[in-house]
């Protein structure tokens, strides 16, 4: 069959493919075995809640001894990951849409959904900008505006709604002035760097950075309510701890925390 040294390339290929297949197989299947029972929970949370939820995590751990791991991103992307079987215990979304989506797919424990905060939508510009729009209409005079991708970023969806309310979305998009980002913090980062002249983010995001300043706030009627929801992932192996976490999000202590950071209570 294969004479002399000719088997060498064939063997090499076989080994390579075996390794690749092995790696792929290792990637499948649940990862849960690494987590020791009842000592750590994983929270998938909307990017705009990064600082708040991290702080909550610290307090939670201090109180209960349970460690908290986080992943922050656009709520839509997180929902998708949960749908794909990502190992997590709690889901926090900046949009009712994605909580509903997950719930409808039976990814969440229906009995433990809560609304725990609200926010408002603002337009920000670089801190040193001379060209500050005072109203949505003045956005038309700018070159580039960063906004989260409405397909999966809640802030983007709200921005879409707000700009459409003022009949600005289509024209701005058509003139190539809209830049879509993969989450709300990326939109803010572009404004900080100055690669765009303005961005639409939450008021709570804006207050975190001294490289940006708020140009104006979008009125509540121009967009659907910005509501933060949390739910327990049905698949969770740490149900009790997850419930404790969710309950904490409804507590008075937590309300003080979020208000101090610019969120509104539900």
């Amino acid at each position: 069959m294969l004479s002399g040294k000719r088997w060498l390339p064939a063997a090499a290929y076989t080994i390579m493919i075996a390794v690749l297949v092995g790696l792929a197989a290792a990637g499948c299947g649940p990862k849960g075995e690494n987590q020791q029972a009842a000592k750590e929970i994983v929270v998938y949370a909307a990017a705009s809640t990064t600082e708040v939820i991290e702080e909550v995590g610290k307090v939670f751990t201090a109180q209960t001894g349970v460690k908290v791991g986080f992943e922050f991103g656009s709520s839509g992307f997180l929902a998708r990951k949960i749908e794909s079987g990502a190992p997590t215990d709690v889901f926090i979304s900046a949009d009712e849409r994605w909580i509903k989506y997950a719930d409808e797919k039976n990814l969440l424990d229906h009995d433990h959904l809560i609304l725990f905060a609200r926010s408002s939508l603002v337009c920000i510009v670089p801190a040193g900008s001379q060209n500050t729009p005072a109203s949505p209409q003045e956005l038309a005079g700018l070159e580039r505006i960063s906004v989260g991708d409405p397909a999966h970023v809640p802030a983007g969806k709200y921005a879409n709604e707000a700009l459409s309310y003022y009949n600005l979305w289509d024209s701005l998009l058509g003139q190539g002035k809209i830049v879509l980002t993969m989450d709300v913090r990326a939109a803010m980062s572009y404004v900080e760097q100055g690669v765009v002249q303005a961005g639409i983010v939450y008021s709570t995001d804006a207050s975190l950075s001294d490289k940006v300043k708020v140009a104006f706030t979008f009125s509540d009627e121009s967009h659907s309510p910005i509501t933060y929801h949390a739910g327990i992932v049905s698949r969770t192996a740490n149900k009790a701890e997850a419930i404790e976490f969710i309950n904490f999000l409804g507590s008075e202590k937590f309300h003080q925390l979020i208000v101090s950071r610019g969120f509104k209570t539900p």
């Binding site: 929902a79 998708r80 070159e143 580039r144 397909a151």
Partner: protein, 230 residues
């Protein structure tokens, strides 16, 4: 298939073509320099040219943003001329070109290395100026390599994600196939789009490779075999 997917495919193809157009002349010139000349700073030039091959593409994209940002000299100069780089097709084409250039240079340089420099000397003794020698001798003999390098550049530009993602506006009409796939991937319930685009991406790359092989093979036989009535 929706319009946005079609526009993503067309945009990817456009970026591939732009990458080749932008890189072919400087790439061939660079390849020739690296192949035929020694000069101070040669190692530095080689490193810079080949860097995008090894550093994470997002880093390349980041550098591009810094270089062309309108707050810096180059960006503002271009803005005066009405050229916007970041968040426009221009920027994406530049990103694609930067990612494809090292592959083109590497392949073409290797082709030039395989052309016996003594043949060029022989042409010079026959009255051929250095420039003419390049077109009459060096280029025809390295043509398969140039074609192969261009196709590699095209394929690389076609498939780029990291650098392109940094300079793309992200809106429909500004997403290449890779960006479109990522957009749909992040949005729950868009499995079908992801699969479709992934398949198309595979097919396009495979076609590019096959075309490159065929072109290289055919130009070789046409040249080195006997020519009838030539």
């Amino acid at each position: 298939m929706q319009n946005q997917e079609i526009s993503a495919i067309l945009l990817s193809l456009l970026m591939g073509v732009c990458a080749v157009i932008l890189t072919i002349v400087p790439g061939v010139a660079l390849a020739w320099l690296l192949s035929r000349r020694k000069f101070p700073g040669k190692t530095l030039v080689e490193t810079v040219v080949f860097l995008p091959l090894v550093i994470p593409p997002v880093v390349t994209g980041y550098f591009l943003i810094k270089v062309f940002s309108q707050q810096k000299l180059l960006g503002s100069l271009l803005a005066e001329l009405g050229i916007r780089v970041i968040f426009s097709w221009t920027g994406m084409a530049i990103a694609a070109a930067v990612m494809g250039l090292p592959l083109l240079v590497r392949t073409v340089r290797s082709a030039f290395d395989n052309v016996n420099p003594k043949l060029e000397a022989a042409a010079r003794t026959l009255g051929c100026s250095p420039l003419r020698t390049f077109f009459a001798v060096t280029l025809p003999l390295s043509w398969p390599g140039i074609v192969a390098g261009s196709v590699l550049c095209f394929a690389r530009a076609l498939g780029d994600f990291g650098a392109t993602a940094m300079v793309s506006a992200g809106t429909e009409g500004n997403r290449t196939i890779s960006l479109e796939i990522f957009h749909h991937y992040q949005s729950p319930g868009h499995e079908a789009e992801v699969l479709r685009l992934a398949a198309i991406s595979l097919i396009l790359s495979a076609l590019a490779l096959i075309a490159s092989e065929m072109l290289a093979a055919s130009s070789k036989t046409a040249r080195f075999g006997e020519r009838q009535g030539g």
